[in-house]
Symmetry: C2
Subunit: 125 residues, 2 copies
Amino acid sequence: MTENRGAALETALAYHRAWTSHDFERAMTYIAEDIVCQAPSGRLESAEAFRGFMGPFAQILIRSNLIAAFGNDTTAVLMYDTDTVPVSDAPGAEYLTVKEGKISHMRIIFDRLPFEAARPAAAKG
Amino acid sequence: MTENRGAALETALAYHRAWTSHDFERAMTYIAEDIVCQAPSGRLESAEAFRGFMGPFAQILIRSNLIAAFGNDTTAVLMYDTDTVPVSDAPGAEYLTVKEGKISHMRIIFDRLPFEAARPAAAKG
């Protein structure tokens, strides 16, 4: 299910392998300082903002497997499944743009509803 | 952002063009009778079950634009943005398997949270 070698796909897969193997600091080496990430909760600008979003998710990850990976030299799409501490079977999809070996843009889609449902009632706003 | 010609990608794009141009019956001609669809709400088996899921969504669609499309002769990935009647800026991603010109498997990811939030309070279970 992995298709079409290309620099962006290679970077996307290296990033994915790093964070799904619990090496988030290595994953961050593939993230551009000025990354723009369009996440379900809104737009994040900068590697630090991205770290604040993906770091906590990487910490609750139990396992992930890649469902699909396509790309070329400039963009790539990954789809993957995850099991996390609060939610099992939580898939995600990412569309990534890579410039000079770093991910400069990411559009990420996942279903927030089961995560919201798993939050302690006292924490719900 | 559309890459790699192939039979599955062509079918995926034809399906996508049909439902996003409000021709849902034409979209259904690309769906296998025994489709298995893994949706955020669970597993759907059969074209009729799929119709019950995607038909109502197609009816509330205002517009869609394709963000990314990759594929080959057997599988494809689409990512797209939509505006719908209850929710604006609602992206989705699909990983599709195509056999004999019909979509036999679809894994679809989208964020149900804004749709849940937009439901009338009386309708929430």
